[in-house]
Symmetry: C2
């Protein structure tokens, strides 16, 4: 969740789509200092770290939300901030096809912070995703910061789904229509919270769901690569394509009711999953058996890494870019 989203200005920059964001570059600076993982493990670079040998694989991920950066607290409640921070970490587990196990939550903020409200949102999100909070830390600080760390397991079937396994010809899917969170933020900013039709968009923004069941179904149905859409489809699908060494040819992008195509491509924080699968029938059948909304086809992966098109045109370079500069 390292990208300033709600309460910040989107900055679509030419060449950003699929490129390494400032945050990724900064984390790369951390990775370079560290020893690399043993065979079979994945450390920095995917949605979550993959630790230990199968079948006891442990997933581990951490996500930080800052009041005023990730959530405009004049528009959203502290409970919303707590929910969103928790959902963001859970979504990283979903993007590996994992099952969330446990969460710990560290909070900093001024002593005047309404911790009850913040904890209500954290606890409600954890309960909704069946991921108990088992520990925490609390500190004073000038601004409200919530860091949520989640562990996950990968029970049965294939191992975790990384970003890098997509191959040319694989079909691309997304677990739901996109842009709802961005449209919800726009509605709140415009003072349209009470208008008909906006309730669902505000819910998408303030109470996003991590697609844990969908991620696990996709893993079991042979998904080759998967990522959660936290920074916008253009950026996150770009990460998947870059890691896999493929391009992509999209036929259409599903747009949430009340949102625009730009919201869908660049809005981020919808926390739907985008995934590649060689056998679309198997994928759709698996979602059906699990009682899940059918995954929505986007297009396919192509051999030409330079191709990133939507209905024949280049995908606009929309998406959120972290202000951290590249480290040397």
């Amino acid at each position: 969740m390292g990208r300033p989203k709600s309460g910040a200005t989107p900055r679509g920059r030419p060449g950003t789509s699929g490129g390494k964001s400032g945050e990724s570059a900064a984390l790369e600076a951390l990775r370079r200092r560290l020893p690399g993982p043993p065979p079979g493990e994945v450390w920095i670079g995917d949605d979550a770290a993959v630790l230990g040998p199968a079948p006891g694989v442990l997933l581990l991920t951490t996500d930080m939300a800052v009041g005023g950066v990730h959530a405009d607290l004049t528009l959203m409640s502290l409970a919303d901030l707590g929910w969103r921070a928790t959902a963001g970490a859970l979504s990283d587990i979903a993007a590996m096809g994992g099952r969330a196990a446990h969460a710990v939550v560290a909070v900093a903020g001024p002593p005047s912070t309404d911790l009850d409200q913040l904890y209500d949102g954290i606890a409600a999100c954890a309960a909704a995703h069946r991921c108990p909070v088992v520990g925490g830390d609390l500190s004073t600080g000038a601004e409200i910061v919530v860091a949520v760390t989640v562990t996950g397991r990968v029970p049965g079937g294939p191992g975790p789904v990384l970003r890098r396994g997509a191959r040319p010809g694989d079909r691309l899917f997304v677990t739901g229509p996109l842009g709802g969170a961005a449209a919800g933020l726009a509605a709140l900013r415009a003072g349209r919270r009470a208008e008909p039709g906006t309730e669902r968009l505000v819910e998408a923004l303030c109470r996003p769901r991590a697609r844990l069941a969908e991620g696990e179904a996709a893993r079991r149905a042979g998904a080759t690569a998967m990522v959660d859409i936290s920074d916008g489809l253009a950026t996150d699908l770009g990460h998947l394509a870059e890691a896999s060494g493929v391009g992509f040819r999209l036929d259409a992008v599903p747009v949430a009711d009340g949102a625009t195509l730009d919201d869908a491509l660049g809005g981020g924080e919808d926390y739907e999953l985008v995934l590649a699968a060689p056998d679309p029938d198997r994928l759709v059948a698996a979602f059906g058996r699990a009682g899940l909304r059918s995954p929505i086809p986007l297009g396919r992966c192509v051999d030409d890494r330079a191709e990133r098109t939507l209905a024949g045109d280049p995908v606009p370079a929309l998406g959120w870019e972290h202000p951290w500069g590249s480290s040397p």
Copy 2:
């Protein structure tokens, strides 16, 4: 590490020693919202959460350090802050008798932050404790916040050592002399960094070591309760005594060279371990076999929960108290 230590003022308050700090009360407010653990697990309330059935027990703990609260960045470097945040989380694993497995690190700060320096300290501390950093997150924020989450394992021998297992008659030990970190901070504040003899104190403050080997040796040698000294001996031993339902009678407290007894009782952040053991000979022998400095005897646990004495006098109510007020 929820207590403002370096760069903040110690606040010894009557009745604080052994009582529930503001932070503990606030975390209790989180715990009350959450389901309780299944039998055999420990969630909120000890140094680290204890998850899953033996022998595959997983320890999980998170610790947050805030620039200006936990480290005065006019006196310490960003690398020191990174080291200390990492050591604080590792120390929680040590206090369970665990072996550190993996760490993830979330950082917030202004874009001008020298991430290279911060990451240098984190990476150096992780390497010194053989705990690889496997993931991270990065966000913009007004102040520098580092949240470190560490997993641990409990290989061989008895299970994790909780705070609550001490019994009347158990002997109390500490893994090293105390007060060095507090004396180091005083030296830095007084501009005495370059004076002879202060180097070791500054090292104790800026580069503390988590006592992982000592914690594991104590667990295997039958320690009944253990806690790390992050808030000062008076406070942390008070937590152990309260959880165990015992009092304590101390004969003497080992004071680090250059520190005072008040530093040792209330200074905190030394990250030594205080522990209870029914068989002192076995404990000392185990430390010897492991090539560790012999644990230093403090005194013993007593049946009278109200007794908290040092050489016959009440232990002064020193220690760091978190400014978070009690939640209703």
